[in-house]
């Protein structure tokens, strides 16, 4: 144990047994105000620091606060940690800690049979059971199915904090750290990282209180007879190197900042807050020392328009939003296609339609990204597969945008946005760099705004302030080289074709598809975006059980990799799980005329591993 826990061992208690296990999934659940997100993420940090592989899944209510103690107000945070590679936060949990009856009710069905359920027994009374919608006391029934451990967390926390100059409300607010201390004991984890974090956030009595209750929770674990065994999940064998935890939103934000560095160009981020994308703006705003300007626009039309303005002025323009805000930008994006300026548009997808369920996840915006503008307005679309991948995809998006002079759409989602995973910190030297060049005044004589690079078909990026290159751009149909406004049908057709070819040409930059498993055979599971973890785990499991199944994951959704058609044709069947009603599936079926089997879920939740695994098994049974 670390520095904060080095008092003399109290030998008056019997030593407890330790069970070594491969992996454990736990879920913290309580009221929105109970601090579950913090508790979960501190546990995650500690576990990752210890060397486990980790995956998390925060699940919180829509943005509005619900009345305390109701189902609508329950906030949860699931952590899966293991001694081996894992890819998802797990379908079921081994342990649930529920701070009140509503948290119990909303979550207990996700606990595996005979799993452990710790409840804050202080919070269980008639009134609170009613608020949660229980008509009878659920505990007797649950005791038969689970190992229910009743800990009076509120009381124990109050006892631990006696004598401090805090209001009783302030005291009660600390109780999540008691619980954290207890769980850190239960899984043999260090208190020190949490204590360090507390010291960086709080001062004086509040700091003291949190540390004290954290230790008290730990001590309680050591002494209580309710918990005879603790569990140890040994460190995982993962690729050596420096690691940190990162969420998808933080990775997107850092990817934006890193693009300024790697392309050596200032960034302009224009955005309007919207769940679950706002955090990207928040995070970028913290790093203005990277030559990054952020602009909180009055709405999404202004956010996108200002970013295009910035691109015209020679900056890296980017705009970030989610579904409802994203579609408001389509007119401006169409203009960016027409004027051929670099721009990155991030859509952190959420469950819809309409306002829908703003904190829940979905992959519902793929077709809108590809086809949601009027007329033929093609552009590249990319999707990160994991939280950490968000960082690299941002760099790739900017690279394409400036190389090909085009807007690029990046599709993340709510699940990637908020989940954390241990991320191997990239070596800055190894990150792609590029130099962007603007035509100079020397080229004034021969400069034509729509004269294209012969190979890439990109037009020159001439920027205001360059004497002699004064020119006008706009959304009207234009002539190929001069860019002058024209009404001639042939010119129009030619420009439509040129823009289309330019985007199709990006295929040359896309590496061959990596296949996890044999590159031909019975079944290929194809995925894109955040389904990566669930598919990887399901396919790994199925292969371990000897099934002939492979996995490939698409990062470039437009243009599609050149070798995709060939790959698909080498498998007897192709399964495509998506969190929508089959959007990518439609595109691939149309393109390759292959009977891709779409497997869909539109419930605001990611796939469970078992759902995909069952589907795989079913398909392979049918085949055999």
């Amino acid at each position: 144990m670390g520095a904060v826990n080095d008092g003399p061992a109290d030998d008056s208690h019997p030593r407890k047994s330790v069970t070594e296990v491969d992996h454990v999934a736990i879920r913290f659940a309580g009221d929105s105000g109970d601090g579950m997100q913090i508790t979960g993420s501190k546990f995650t940090d500690t576990t990752a620091l210890f060397g486990n592989d980790v995956a998390t899944f925060p699940d919180f209510p829509a943005e509005i606060r619900a009345p305390a103690g109701t189902l609508a107000g329950v906030s949860g945070y699931q952590v899966h940690f293991a001694a081996e590679d894992i890819f998802t936060p797990a379908d079921e949990v081994d342990l649930l800690i529920a701070f009140n009856p509503a948290a119990l009710r909303a979550n207990v069905e996700d606990v595996r049979g005979h799993g452990m359920v710790i409840i804050n027994s202080d919070a269980f009374n008639k009134k609170s059971l009613q608020r949660a919608g229980y008509t009878d006391d659920p505990l007797p029934g649950l005791r038969e199915r689970f190992n229910v451990v009743e800990v009076p967390v509120t009381t124990l926390n109050r006892e631990a904090l006696q004598g401090l100059a805090l209001s009783s409300r302030e005291v009660d607010r600390c109780k999540n750290f008691f619980a954290l201390g207890l769980l850190l004991w239960l899984y043999h984890r260090d208190l020190e990282p949490t204590a360090r974090w507390l010291a960086s956030k709080f001062k004086a009595d509040v700091l003291e209180a949190n540390i004290r209750t954290l230790k008290a929770g730990h001590a309680f674990g050591e002494t209580t007879e309710l918990l005879p065994t603790s569990f140890l999940v040994p460190a995982a064998k993962i690729e050596p190197g420096p690691y940190r935890n990162i969420t998808g939103n933080a990775a997107l934000a850092w990817g934006i900042v890193a693009s300024a560095v790697q392309l050596d160009k200032p960034v302009f981020l224009g955005a309007y807050p919207i769940t679950p994308a706002s955090d990207v703006l928040h995070e970028v705003a913290r790093h203005r020392n990277f030559n990054v300007k952020t602009f909180q626009a009055e709405d999404e039309m202004a956010a996108a328009s200002s970013a295009i303005g910035a691109a015209f002025a020679g900056h890296l323009g980017v705009t970030v939003s989610s579904g409802p805000g994203f579609i408001l930008k389509q007119e401006a994006i169409g203009l960016a296609v027409m004027v051929e300026l670099p721009l990155v548009i991030v859509d952190v997808q959420r469950a819809g339609p309409a306002t829908g369920s703003p904190t829940k996840t979905e992959q519902g915006d793929l077709l809108a990204a590809l086809y949601g503008r009027h007329s033929q307005a093609h552009l590249p679309v990319l999707a990160p597969a994991t939280p950490g991948d968000c960082f690299h995809v941002m760099l790739e998006a900017f690279r394409i945008a400036v190389k090909y002079m085009t807007p690029v759409i990046v599709l993340s989602d709510s699940y990637l946005a908020n989940s954390a995973e241990p991320w191997r910190i990239p070596d800055v030297e190894s990150l792609p760099r590029a130099t962007v060049s603007h035509p100079s005044s020397d080229a004034a004589e021969s400069f034509r705004p729509y004269e294209r690079d012969a190979e890439l078909l990109a037009r020159p990026w001439a920027i205001p302030g360059t004497a002699g290159l004064e020119h006008r751009i706009g959304g009207l149909t234009k002539a190929p080289v001069s860019g002058n406004v024209v009404y001639d049908p042939d010119n129009h057709e030619q420009m439509v074709a040129l823009r289309y070819q330019k985007i199709e040409g990006i295929v040359r930059d896309i590496p061959p598809i990596e296949v996890n498993g044999p590159d031909r055979g019975e079944l290929l599971v194809l995925g894109w975006g955040s389904t990566h973890g669930a598919i990887t785990a399901a396919v790994k499991g199925a292969r371990e059980r000897g099934l002939d199944v492979s996995h490939a994951h698409l990062r470039h959704l437009n243009p599609l990799p050149a070798d995709l058609g060939d790959l698909l044709s080498r498998f007897r069947r192709v399964l495509l799980p998506e969190l929508n009603l089959g959007q990518l599936s439609m595109i691939l079926r149309a393109r390759y005329l292959i009977d891709i089997e779409s497997f869909t879920k539109v419930a605001g939740q990611p796939f469970k591993v078992v759902e995909i695994q069952t589907k795989i098994e079913q398909m392979l049974e049918e085949s055999s």
């Binding site: 990282p193 709405d299 202004a302 303005g309 002025a313 401006a332 800055v428 006008r472 751009i473 706009g474």
Partner: protein, 343 residues
Amino acid sequence: MAASPEAPELSRKDFVTNQDVRWCPGCGDYSVLANVQRVMPELGVPRENFVFVSGIGCSSRFPYYMNTYGFHTIHGRAPAFATGIKITRPELSVWIVTGDGDGLSIGGNHLMHAIRRNLDVQILLFNNRVYGLTKGQYSPTSALGMRTKTSPTGSIDHPIDPITFALGSGATFVARTIDVDASHMQEMLKRAHQHKGTAFIEILQNCPVFNDGTWEELQDRKSRTETALVLEHGKPLVFGAPGARKGICVDHGVPKVIDVSDDQAPEAQGVVVHDENAPPSYSFALASLARPEFPLPVGVLRETEKPCYEAMVEDEVQHAIESRGPGDLRDLLNSGDTWEVEG
């Protein structure tokens, strides 16, 4: 922005493009274009530092005819594009060209926000009180009762006044001028350029095709002496022909028109002295003078100082760099809790 010493002298012709100008014969937009092209060389800004940004409408074709950088964007959003340009490149001289439909119908929100943020840009709103480009529907500034294809029995929309709208949005510079009054317009353009902050100019513009004569009494030199109140800072609010001059005074808080004798300074006769820097309620009162009892004010209704948005954005970046040093990507990636997995 001072001209760099080596910069060649520019003339009006340097600002003319090789594109055919595509407005109807007699359109008021021609004279605005000519005046802008005439004023540009006098502003001491290198040509390559001018950017004209417009939305969609007849008036919004403007950038195509200016031999500067130009961006003809989408309907109503020009202020938002301009915001991105000005924030990232504060050294550029950014001019927004918009119409009464572009700027006040679909684009009212962006106009309001650009104005309240006080970005250092110029906004020229061509007010012909009609949608020209889409062939003559009424606009948010059209008079009640105007008959158009969408209002066959007369418009029922109470019009918005661009000037009170701008003042209500916190504008730091508000002016009005008339398409045919070249010297006045040129003066307004220069004043707008000098102003640090958002300079909003309403230009009364004739559309001979769809709304001919909508500003007739203000465009006509003769009637204008009676119908226009030409504002000059520090000068009394007088109008009318010499010998029959009138002035505006305030009687127990109520504005009134009085006859002004030439024998005495108008101030001495109780006529209000124009103060561009007075609190906004003064300019609002000027702008709200009822017509036709009162003349319509033209000139600078208000000018005041307030920090400019793009400068404050720049400060944010500078402040971040000063307090934390220029960003280091390696440090960022390795900040907070990290750990090393041994090989």
